[in-house]
Amino acid sequence: MTATIRLPYLLDFYPLQDEKYTRIHQFFTNLKVGRFTTTKCRDCEKLHWQPRAVCPDCGSENLEWVDLPKTGEVHAFTAMLLGAPMGFEKDLPFVMALVKLDGLDFKILSRVDGIKHEDCKIGMRLKFKTVTRDDGRVFFRFEPIG
């Protein structure tokens, strides 16, 4: 028999996601229904990554939630084969890529599921997906298209 032991807060990479802990809880609420969103400043029009509580360009808190493109391409890739942190050991090996979102400048770091490192290529097309943990917390990853 195995029991799941909750990691102490200071060993747990997953952000706390609800209203009690973060002003960007809407990001996670949106993820739960498959939306990939971030904040945009209504005052200076700056689009942020990651989502913000306060605009880093103008200091405004008048922000709105907007959808991000859910497709993109590999700008660079690697994989983790050795030396995983706690909570990631059982996932080894896994692929990571900088994903250039379509139409935007952001190159977001993401795990890429469903592919081996040997089969990755710069420029390869990817699409957004979400993963949900046992405790209900979510995060996003990407996977190859088609």
């Binding site: 807060y9 002003r23 880093p56």
Partner: protein, 390 residues
């Protein structure tokens, strides 16, 4: 050496915040830039981040560039985080001061931030305890409340300081914090309530202790010469002192006199060319009620052993000899470690500007002190600020 001034600053509200470490930094950055009309983010050339334990409380290291991004600055001269436990915020100001004085930076932002309320309180307490010598003192169960309780026990024994006198410190500072919308606690806590609150580490009770607090604060420093570009009311750095003695408790000379505080005060007064009698007000590190009483003495506001009498006689209250902790102190506003030293500077600046609420205003204040101890009071850090240039 160039003269240095603080030209503005702002706060994120202190308390049990429904916000992450990063979001608190964002709020402090936003508030700071709102306070300084003519300053653009791109003009900031340096950043100093005061933070005691983001590695533990926020599971995040290398926080200086993270704060730069959160607040929208791009340091091209100097960037670092300063850590000095409870004095991490003041340490950020001190390093900005040094870099500007030396000519290594022209406009420096300091952000102090701490997120201390985490889901599991024992894990928070565990992190707090490693501020002391973990291998030899922490393993014995020591953390901040027991350490200051030992000082209180010894101070009561050596000088006859009473529980009532300690409670008066808490009541005074909580009363001040009723005027401060940024404070964690905004209700009066009368002496009687302090004396009947739950015992934490005898003789210290719950309201003898500052809170577990989330918060952030920011200030901007530049040369005295350029300060008027950004504000009509700069606050100048007149002097500083800092001293460290002992780390493991066994190596302390005394527990009822803080010798490193006496040394730091001597150097602060010397460098500012003033004496304690020249101060119009002071922000001192009241992490526990006994701390403020000992600080009255070791900062030279009263005779050694008469700190209890000093609060009893109202000498540290508004209208007294030297009003202490008018923003509410750590007891009233909470103590987000990295933010505290910066929040103290903001209070003095706002006092000099006469922009604090009437109920806590010290009329015509011109010289003020900000003091922080850190850890088990083995380091004491002091800055002396003035409304007029040195």
């Amino acid at each position: 050496m160039r003269k240095v001034a603080i030209v503005g600053g702002g706060l994120a509200p202190f308390g049990v915040r429904q916000a992450t470490w990063k979001e608190l930094a964002q709020e402090a950055g936003g508030a700071t830039f709102r306070d300084i009309k003519n300053l653009e983010r791109k003009d900031v050339d340096s950043l100093f981040v005061g933070a005691a334990m983001p590695e533990r409380f926020a599971f995040q290291s290398h926080v200086a560039p993270m704060v730069a991004e959160q607040v929208g600055v791009t340091p091209t001269k100097v960037i670092t985080r300063t850590e000095l436990a409870c004095a991490s915020g003041q340490s950020a100001i001190r390093m900005a001061y040094a870099c500007i004085a030396a000519g290594l930076s022209d406009i420096a932002l300091c952000i102090g931030v701490e997120k201390m309320n985490i889901p599991d309180p024992p894990e928070m307490q565990t992190s707090m305890a490693c501020v002391l010598d973990r291998e030899f003192d922490g393993v014995q169960g020591a953390s901040a409340p027991p350490f200051f309780a030992l000082c209180a026990n010894r101070h009561m024994h050596d000088y006859g300081t009473t529980r009532e006198q300690m409670a008066m410190v808490s009541a005074k500072n909580h009363h001040f914090s009723t005027t401060n919308p940024f404070a964690q606690f905004q209700k009066d806590i009368p002496v009687e309530k302090v004396l009947t609150s739950p015992m934490v580490a005898p003789p210290l009770r719950l309201f003898d202790c500052s809170g577990i607090t989330d918060g952030a604060a920011g200030v901007v420093l530049t040369t005295a010469e350029r300060a008027k570009e950004f504000t009509d009311t700069p606050m100048y750095i007149l002097g500083s002192g800092q001293c460290s003695m002992g780390s493991n408790l066994a190596n302390y000379k005394s527990f009822s006199t803080w010798f490193p505080l006496k040394e730091a005060a001597k150097e602060a007064y010397r460098s500012a060319k003033i004496g304690p009698g020249d101060l119009d007000l002071a922000e001192v590190h009241d992490c526990f009620t006994i701390s403020e009483i000992m600080e009255y003495e070791d900062l030279g506001f009263c005779e050694k052993g008469k700190g209890g009498k000093f609060i009893e006689d109202g000498k540290s209250d508004l209208g007294g000899k030297i009003p202490i902790n008018t923003r509410g102190g750590l007891l009233g506003t909470g103590h987000p470690l990295g933010a505290t030293g910066i929040a103290q500077a903001i209070e003095l600046m706002q006092q000099f500007r006469s922009s604090v609420p009437r109920q806590r205003l010290v009329d015509n204040a011109e010289i003020g002190m900000a003091h922080n101890l850190s850890g088990a009071a083995n380091v004491h850090s002091i800055l002396i600020y003035g409304r007029n240039p040195p």
